[in-house]
């Protein structure tokens, strides 16, 4: 399945999604409200391997980036979900792709994104008792440990 076929197929299934073809793989933008249902449908459609889950802070908003792949067809798909910066919340997908559990915990502490219904949303990397500031946000300041080049 090439990129064009993949796009046509997905366009039919998810009419509300928009598509970009900027990178090497097809990018599908969907809204936060649609995410859980879309994730479940994609898993059923064969995208069984999530090889990357991360978040990008664009100063005005956050973007969750999910890299998915089917282990039988090997056509990667990138899903992007835009989140509000003030109160970033998104449904967890850790029950669909188990690898998401750890990756979501990482994003939770480094970006402050709240994953709804996550089974175990606690700090993973940061020390216990860490409050407030999320290190990978662009406005994070640490005058003691960070050296500005």
């Amino acid at each position: 399945m090439n990129k064009e076929e993949q796009k046509l197929k997905l366009q039919e299934q998810y009419p509300s999604a928009t598509f970009d073809e900027i990178g090497q793989w097809l990018v599908m933008n969907i809204s936060v409200a649609d995410w859980l249902a879309t994730a479940q449908a994609l898993r059923t459609a064969g995208y069984d391997y999530m090889f990357c889950l991360t978040c990008v802070d664009f100063k005005t908003h956050f973007t969750m980036v999910y890299h998915l792949e089917s282990t039988t067809e090997r056509t990667p798909l990138v899903i992007k979900v835009q989140l509000e910066r003030n109160n970033p919340e998104i449904e967890t997908v850790s029950h669909i792709w188990r690898t998401a559990e750890f990756h979501e915990r990482e994003v939770y502490e480094l970006f402050g994104v709240n994953f709804l219904n996550h089974p175990d949303l606690r700090l993973l990397i940061l020390p216990d008792g860490w409050e407030g500031k999320n290190p990978l946000r662009k406005d994070f300041e640490d005058n003691v440990n960070m050296i500005k080049l």
């Binding site: 999530m50 990008v56 890299h67 282990t71």
Partner: protein, 385 residues
């Protein structure tokens, strides 16, 4: 039975076998952060019922350096070398992955000679990593001799690396567009010497450990990971191939000259610790086979493409995937068109491989935990980043 330092919690519902109706409490023990079997500062909080593991909870961050944040203030030439400090046993391959991503963004054509040198170095790194793992793994389950044998072979590779790259462990030999310098004149001779030496020694590895009945009893049927779970947990590398998952990036998405090379993707299907062990030993032979195909025919030409002094990636997103000794390493760069990356995410194989530990350890015995951890081949700086 319980010492005061052990913390007791909830009353267990499962009566342990032979308990004679007595009710036992769960016991929580801490393995690490300083523990010889974790090979680094990994902290596992283990809930036990008798000897049976009920839960394994990893606590990370003891050496978290926030490399992703650090990279946001480094140039596209500089950030490559920070990744050497992630998975220090595949530092060369990590650098390679970053270079592939930058080259993809700038559409740099890498000269044939540089590609061959890169692949040779990658495979030497893979051998060095697997060999060290083999010694450490055997040591974890109680055999001390292999550790010394493995260092004998690893030392030869480190010497080769030192000659050509200047350093023994964190090579920093890659640059966008090729490699930093041509290989040392002794390189071909010494690699050939190593291959002929190692060919005779790898059979010794099999005799000493693989065919050892005690070792087999310690690892067979321990920490069984099914194919579906391996995919769902994002397990990659030899750990997943031991469960029958095809996940070798060298075969699936060939980079450099891997598509022209003759080698086999090693797959085992048992899914237990022994299968993961066998995959790595078979991969050693495959890596040797790859090196043999290339070492005597390194093409003439440039070892580096001409690139600008200051690299600026166009606005957009770039993702490269590469097979390290531990699994799939991904580099995700978001560029805003400047001289530094806007955001970098490293998808490290160790992080995903660790997440499956709780799943495969449940129901197993505490004594087998090192055999499960050992065959996942965890490198802690790679997990923490």
């Amino acid at each position: 039975m319980y010492s005061e330092t052990m913390i007791l919690n909830e009353r267990s519902q499962i009566p342990p076998s032979g308990g004679g109706g007595a009710v036992f409490d769960d016991m929580i023990i801490n393995v690490g952060p300083q523990h010889p079997a974790t090979h680094g500062v990994l902290h596992l909080v283990i809930t036990l019922n008798g000897e049976t593991i009920k839960k394994v909870e990893p606590h990370l961050g003891y050496i978290h350096r926030s490399i992703e944040k650090m990279c946001e203030s480094l140039s596209f030439r500089q950030f490559i070398y920070v990744t050497s400090k992630m998975d220090y046993l595949s530092s060369h391959i990590n650098n390679h992955g970053c270079c592939l991503c930058v080259e993809q963004g700038l559409q740099i054509e890498v000269p044939q000679k540089a590609q061959v040198i890169r692949v040779l170095m990658d495979e030497l790194t893979r051998i060095a990593s697997h060999v060290l793992w083999w010694g450490a793994m055997a040591m974890d389950v109680g055999a001390l001799t292999p550790f010394f044998l493995s260092f004998r072979e690893r030392e030869m590779i480190n010497d080769i690396m030192e000659e050509s790259c200047g350093t023994r462990l964190t090579m920093n030999y890659m640059v966008p567009g090729g490699v930093m310098a041509d290989v040392h004149p002794n390189f071909v001779r010494r690699v050939n010497e190593f291959i002929s030496h190692f060919k005779s020694k790898i059979d010794e590895y099999d005799e000493l450990v693989t065919n050892n009945i005690i070792f087999q009893n310690r690892t067979k049927g321990v920490g069984v990971l099914s194919k579906e779970d391996a995919i769902s947990f994002g397990v990659t590398g030899p750990a997943a191939r031991g469960s029958g998952v095809r996940c070798d990036i060298r075969k699936l998405y060939p980079y450099e000259i891997y598509s022209q090379l003759n080698f086999e993707e090693v797959i085992e299907t048992a899914g237990d610790s022994f299968a993961r062990y066998v995959v790595r030993l078979r991969e050693l032979r495959q890596s040797m086979h790859i090196i043999e195909q290339l070492i005597n025919t390194i093409p003439e030409g440039d070892f580096q493409a001409k690139t600008k002094a200051v690299l600026k990636l166009p606005k957009g997103e770039f993702y490269s995937r590469i097979e390290t000794a531990r699994g799939e390493f991904g580099v995700y760069i978001v560029s805003e068109g400047g001289t530094t990356p806007y955001r970098i995410k490293f998808r490290s194989p160790g992080f995903s491989n660790l997440s499956v530990l709780d799943h495969i350890a449940r129901g197993g015995k505490i004594g087998d935990l090192v055999a499960m951890m050992g065959t996942l081949d965890l490198v802690i700086p790679d997990i923490d980043r």
